[in-house]
């Protein structure tokens, strides 16, 4: 009896597989005739939704969801669906996911890839397929030198943010001894190098740690910072390690101010470090404070998701809106949408957008802000003067 049952279940499973496969083939071959109508268009979000750095990716995916939610309410007869592609922030997973997006012909544009490392792995494929990718957060400078024709960035890169952080350390913190740590990621190491370049001899020591949740004990680094006598510590990397480093520095009695970039600019940093240890940390971000973004973005976001908008929720919202405006204007195949984004100019919630020939945000549009952790919250401190 049991044997029979097993066979029956197995048979059903195989039949289901075969049917599923046939259905999949069918939808593939049918896509040619369907591509005339735009109403089954999709856009994809590409970034970490699980894994150690997921908080930033979830912020962004929620921003994209808000944009789609608004669009679909206004265009109820012609809706666009969101395909979330969870890269876990890992360059190893990126090519496979990119291919998956390319093979789904209904996907007309990508918001992402969110991080710099995965961008380097995925964009060559997107470029070849002519699939437009607008990143809300990959800030490594060299991404704009790759010659990708499909690639756009709605956020200022680390060439602005690195020197801006260094400016703050020199002029606001007035630190003479700075210790620089990075997590060896495309993003973190790039940012740390920019900071080191500007600060020069003021950098009294540096260390490289492991990101991606691979390290939680930073005692060796803490010992080095302590004996270097630094009064400011710059960390190039994401919030999970930044929170741990801050907590362990404070635990060892180091009072140096921690300065970090946009990858750390998330409430999860304070949750990790604890409000007491995080107090006074400086976080730079090429993103506008919520009060300046205007409109009802903050309220709408909170209403839809039940939590406050986080770092890059706004740029992801803008990136999705750029794609949606293109689709709305009738650019319903990949080639047309790519052309539309290339020529796009307009005001979003985070910036006034205009792209250079290399796909990067026009320098005129870039503004970098310093934020400070105060009473357990990240609040804007000041806009860092443009040096570009």
């Amino acid at each position: 009896m049991r044997q029979k049952l097993v066979r029956l279940v197995g048979g059903v499973a195989i039949a289901a597989l075969a049917l599923g496969g046939a259905a999949a083939c069918k939808s593939d071959s049918g896509s040619d005739e369907a591509s005339g109508g735009a109403c089954d268009a999709k856009i994809a979000f590409f970034g970490a939704l699980t894994g150690p750095n997921a908080a930033l990716g979830i912020n962004e995916n929620n921003g994209v969801k808000l944009a789609l939610d608004k669009y679909n309410k206004e265009n109820a007869d012609c809706q666009v669906t969101l395909v979330p592609l969870d890269s876990q922030g890992s360059p190893d997973q990126a090519p496979g996911l990119a291919q998956q997006a390319i093979d789904d012909e209904k996907i007309l544009g990508i918001v992402g890839p969110a991080f710099s490392g995965e961008s380097e792995a995925a964009n060559p494929l997107f470029n070849e397929a002519g699939l437009v990718a607008v990143t809300p957060s990959a800030t490594r400078p060299s991404l704009n030198e790759q010659g990708w024709k499909n690639w756009f960035r709605v956020v200022g890169n680390d060439l602005y943010q690195g020197p801006a952080a260094a400016w703050y350390i020199e002029n606001e913190l007035k630190a003479e001894k700075v210790f620089v740590i990075d997590d060896q990621s495309a993003y973190g190491a790039g940012l740390a190098d920019e900071v080191k370049k500007v600060l020069g001899a003021k950098v009294v020591g540096s260390d490289k740690v492991q990101g991606d949740g691979k390290q939680s004990d930073f005692s060796a680094t803490v010992t080095q910072v302590k004996s270097s006598g630094a009064t400011a510590v710059y960390y190039g990397g994401y919030y999970p390690e930044a929170g741990l480093i801050r907590k362990q520095l404070t635990g060892a009695g180091v009072t140096a101010t921690l300065v970090a970039g946009d990858g750390t600019n998330d409430a999860a940093y304070i949750e990790g470090a604890g409000a007491a240890a995080a107090e006074g940390s400086i976080l730079t971000c090429p993103c506008m404070p919520a009060a300046e973004t205007g409109g009802t973005f903050e309220e709408d976001y909170k209403a839809l998701h039940g939590v406050d908008a986080g770092t890059y929720s706004d740029t992801a919202f803008d990136a999705a809106n750029i794609l949606l405006q293109g689709i709305k204007a009738g650019n319903t195949d990949r080639t047309k949408l790519l052309e539309f984004v290339k020529g796009y100019t307009g005001q979003g919630v985070a910036a006034n957008y205009k792209f250079g020939a290399n796909g990067d945000l026009d320098p005129e549009s870039v503004r970098v802000f310093a934020y400070v952790v105060k009473d357990g919250k990240i609040v804007p401190a000041k806009e860092i003067p443009k040096s570009w």
Binding site: Q215, D217, T223, E271, G272, A275
Partner: protein
């Protein structure tokens, strides 16, 4: 190579290395006990550790201590520590019991090949870690500051803090207690008997399944206390940290001789030291490499680890 950094602060690196190592050693005991008895690497043990670490934090939260609280007063600190350790030990032992019941016992009853155990272990590990990830929304959870990190005394130029002493002291005490339990008690004799020859032990009237359960529970208690000590030391917990810590603890167990309780202690402390010295010499990014180079070189000359496999050996 930065010899200057290492030698100018040699004592400091030694103490922090030993502290990390003590936590590795406590977790390594779980691997070594299960391996000694079942010849099975319990890869879900990292999640046994994580369960204890989360349970301690949530237990303190239930007592009104969140990530920003600072405890004061010797009596209340000791009380919080004991309660934390107790909750963590119970949670970890419970998790270990569930893993044994759900992932291992059904397979053992069907005489499954060893590879099947490996797969269910990894499956259980991923399932538990992801459950914690979803529950915590994949965000870090802060532990309260129970013990102020004041410098207690100085040996050879190294400052020893309260936290370090607490971790080293409680880890050593737990291990001595475990060693006595295995070598002196009736149940301990049962464990050694099953480790030597499970079938013969069963013929002598030892309930094998009960012994196996006891082994998982003991491993769980050790991992739970390690979890609480981790919370105190690191101060922040993310759902995904178990995997790597588990891997390190497993390495420590192999380094000392898997199946050997004292080996787990030696292996753990050695691994902690090697990692910390390597961080100082070459930079923190090289510490894992250094640890595994030491492991490989050591296994080339002593394939059974520093102290050899012993839980099932006749002497005991």
């Amino acid at each position: 190579m930065d010899f200057n950094a290492l030698f100018s602060d040699f004592g400091g690196y030694t103490i922090t290395g030993l502290t990390v190592g003590a936590i590795y050693a406590l977790v390594a005991l779980g691997y070594t006990l299960v391996y000694g008895v079942l010849r099975l690497i319990n890869f879900a043990h990292s999640e046994v550790f994580i369960a204890g670490a989360f349970a301690a934090i949530w237990g303190w939260a239930a007592l009104g201590l969140d990530g920003n609280s600072v405890a004061s007063g010797f009596g209340s600190i000791m009380l919080y520590l004991l309660v934390g350790a107790l909750i963590a030990a119970v949670a970890s032992a419970g998790t270990a019991t569930v893993i044994e019941r759900v992932a291992y016992r059904p397979l053992r009853k069907r005489n499954a090949p060893p590879l099947a155990f490996l797969i269910t272990a990894i499956g259980a590990s991923i399932a538990i870690a992801e459950a914690f990830g979803i529950y915590t929304r994949r965000r870090p959870v802060g532990a309260p500051t129970l013990v102020k990190n004041d410098v207690l005394f100085t040996v050879f130029g190294a400052e020893v803090t309260v936290v370090q002493l607490l971790i080293l002291g409680s880890a050593l005490a737990m291990m001595v207690a475990l060693d006595l339990f295995i070598n002196r008690s009736r149940t301990g004799r049962g464990i050694r008997a099953v480790a030597q020859d499970a079938n013969t032990a069963a013929l002598m009237g030892i309930n094998k399944d009960r012994i196996i359960l006891v082994v998982f529970v003991i491993g769980g208690v050790m991992a739970g206390v390690a979890g609480m000590l981790y919370d105190i030391r690191i101060g922040t917990l993310t759902y995904s940290v178990g995997f790597l810590l588990g891997l390190k603890a497993f390495t420590a167990a192999v380094l000392g001789g898997i199946g050997n309780l004292r080996g787990a202690l030696v292996g753990g402390l050695l691994l902690g030291l090697v990692e910390n010295y390597a961080s100082a010499l070459f930079g923190s990014n090289w510490k894992d490499l250094a640890a595994f180079v030491v492991l490989v070189v050591l296994l080339m000359f002593r394939p059974t680890g520093l102290l050899g496999e012993s839980l099932g050996r006749a002497r005991a």
